[in-house]
C-alpha cells in the first residue's frame, strides 16, 4: 500500500476556548475518493481545512502528501499547497476577478499575471469541462449560483501538479437533480485523473455512498468510523446509524 495522502494523528484544534477537533486521527489512502460525513457542528469543515493546510493544528501531527506540515519551511509548504485544490464551503471565489483569472490564480500558484500559454490552455480546458467555456471573462460575482459552484469546482481541479482535491459541501442547498449532476462531475474527473486523492463532504448521504471508496464519520471533533460504504450502512454505532439510517428513505 502506498503512503497515505493525508495522515493526521492526535490533532487538536481550538478556537476561542472551544475545542473543534479533539484527538482526531485520520489516514486517507492515496488515489481514492474519500467521503467525510458528520452533523452540523461536528468539526467537518475545520477538519477539511486542516487537511487543506488552511488551518494549522494546535497539537498533533499533520502529514500531507508525505510532508509533516509543522516541520516544513515556507517554501515546502508553498509547494504542498500548489498541489492541493480546495473547494470551500461558501466557494470563496475571488469575486472581483473574472472567471479565467480565478482558475489561473490556482493554476499558477498565486501569480495570474505571470500565466503562460500552457496555463491558459489548461484553465480553458477545465472551464470547458464544467460548461463555463463561454464565460471566461465574466466577473465571478456576476455568475448565477449554479455557475459559481461549477467555477469553484473547476478551481479545485486547477493546480498544475494537483495531488489532492478537497470539496467541502459542494451541493449544499441544491435540488436533488442538480446535486447528482455536480457530484457525478466530481466523481468522473477524480476517476479519470492519475492517482489523485479526493475528499468530499456532503449531507447528501446516498449520493456520497454511491461515489466514494471509503467514508469517514466525524463526531464531536474526532473520527469515529472509517470504512467502505457497505460497512457504513451496516454499522450499529448509534451516531453512525443515525447518519446512515435507511438511505433509501432519503431518496424521494
Amino acid at each position: 500500500m502506498p503512503d497515505p495522502a493525508v495522515d493526521l494523528s492526535g490533532v487538536h484544534v481550538r478556537f476561542n476556548d472551544r475545542t473543534i477537533l479533539q484527538d482526531c486521527n485520520l489516514r486517507l489512502g492515496a488515489g481514492l475518493i474519500h467521503g467525510i460525513v458528520g452533523s452540523g457542528g461536528s468539526g467537518r469543515s475545520t477538519l477539511l481545512k486542516v487537511i487543506g493546510t488552511v488551518i494549522p493544528a494546535d497539537a498533533g501531527r499533520v502529514t500531507i502528501l508525505g510532508h509533516d506540515i509543522d516541520q516544513c519551511g515556507g517554501d515546502v509548504l508553498a509547494s504542498i499547497r500548489s498541489r492541493i485544490g480546495f473547494q470551500f464551503q461558501n466557494l470563496a471565489l475571488f469575486d472581483s476577478f473574472d472567471v479565467i483569472d480565478n482558475v489561473l490564480f490556482a493554476v499558477t500558484g498565486g501569480d495570474p499575471d505571470g500565466a503562460e500559454v500552457a496555463d491558459r490552455e489548461r484553465a480553458v480546458e477545465l472551464l470547458d469541462s464544467v460548461g463555463l467555456g463561454d464565460f471566461l471573462h465574466r466577473h465571478a460575482g456576476q455568475l448565477s449560483g449554479g455557475m459559481q459552484r461549477r467555477l469553484a469546482i473547476a478551481r479545485a481541479f486547477a493546480p498544475r501538479q494537483a495531488m489532492l482535491h478537497i470539496f467541502d459541501d459542494p451541493v449544499a442547498g441544491l435540488d436533488p437533480v442538480t446535486s447528482s449532476r455536480i457530484l457525478g462531475l466530481i466523481a468522473s474527473r477524480c476517476r479519470s485523473g492519475t492517482g489523485t486523492t479526493a475528499v468530499i463532504s456532503t449531507h447528501e448521504i446516498d449520493a456520497l455512498l454511491a461515489i466514494c471508496d471509503l467514508v469517514h464519520v466525524i463526531h464531536q471533533g474526532s473520527i469515529i468510523f472509517s470504512g467502505t460504504p457497505a460497512q457504513a450502512v451496516g454499522n450499529r454505532q448509534e451516531v453512525v446509524a443515525r447518519l446512515f439510517r435507511d438511505p433509501v428513505l432519503h431518496r424521494g
Binding site: F88, N90, A92
Partner: protein, 244 residues
Amino acid sequence: MNRRVNEIGLLIQAIVAMTRRPPPLRRIVREVFSCGNRSIVFVCVTMAFFGMILVYEGCMQALALIPDLSSAGPATIRSTIRVFGPLMAGLMVSFRVGAGIAAEAGTMVVTEQDGALLVSGSSPAEWLVAPRLVACIIAVPALTVVGCLAGILAGGALGVGWFGIHPSDFFSLSMVDRGDAAVCAAKSLLNGMAIPVFAAAAGLNTRGGSEGVGVAATSAVVRSCVAVAVIEFLVSTVARVAGA
C-alpha cells in the same frame, strides 16, 4: 482562519513576501490611483473647511485683542504644515482608505478567500498588504501636501476676501523653515506606512460572518486613527528634542 494577525507580524510578512516576489508595478500603480482617487477630493474638501475654520476663528480672536492680522497667515501656514495637515490628512485617509482596506480584507476572510489565497500559493500579506503598503507610502505624503495646500488656499481666500489681509502678508513663508517640512514629511510617511497595515490587520482579524466585516472596518478606522495620533505625538516629541 483562526489565528490572530498582529500589525508588526503583518508588516514583516508583507516585507518578506515583497522580497520573494515583488508586487507587479501595475498593481502598485493601480493601488496608488485607487488610494489617491478615493481620498483626494475628500481630503481637499475637509482640509479646505478646516483651513477656513482655523483662519476665521484665529482672525476673530486676534481682532478682539490686537487689530493686527499680519501674522494670521504665516501662523496658519506653519501650524497646518506641522500639525493639522499631517493629522487631518492622516485621519481622513484612515476614514476613506482604512475602512475600505479592512472591508476588503474582512470580506475575503468571511468568504474564505484568504484561505483560497493560501491554497493557491499566495498569501493575504502578499496579495492584500504588500501592494497597498507601497502605494500608501507614496500616496499619503502626496495627499498630505495637497491637503495642506487646499487648507492654506481656502483659509487664505477667507483671510484675503473677508478680513482684507493683503495676499503677500497672508501667503508668507516667513515662519516656515526646513524643520517644519521635515516634521510634515516624517509624519506623513509614517502615516502612509501605518494606515494600510493597521487597516489590513483589522480586516484579517474579522470574526463572525458578515456582521464581523462592519466591526472590522470600524476597528480599522479607530486603530489607524489612533496610530496617526500616536505618530503625531512621537514625531512632535522627537522634533522638540532635536530642536527642529
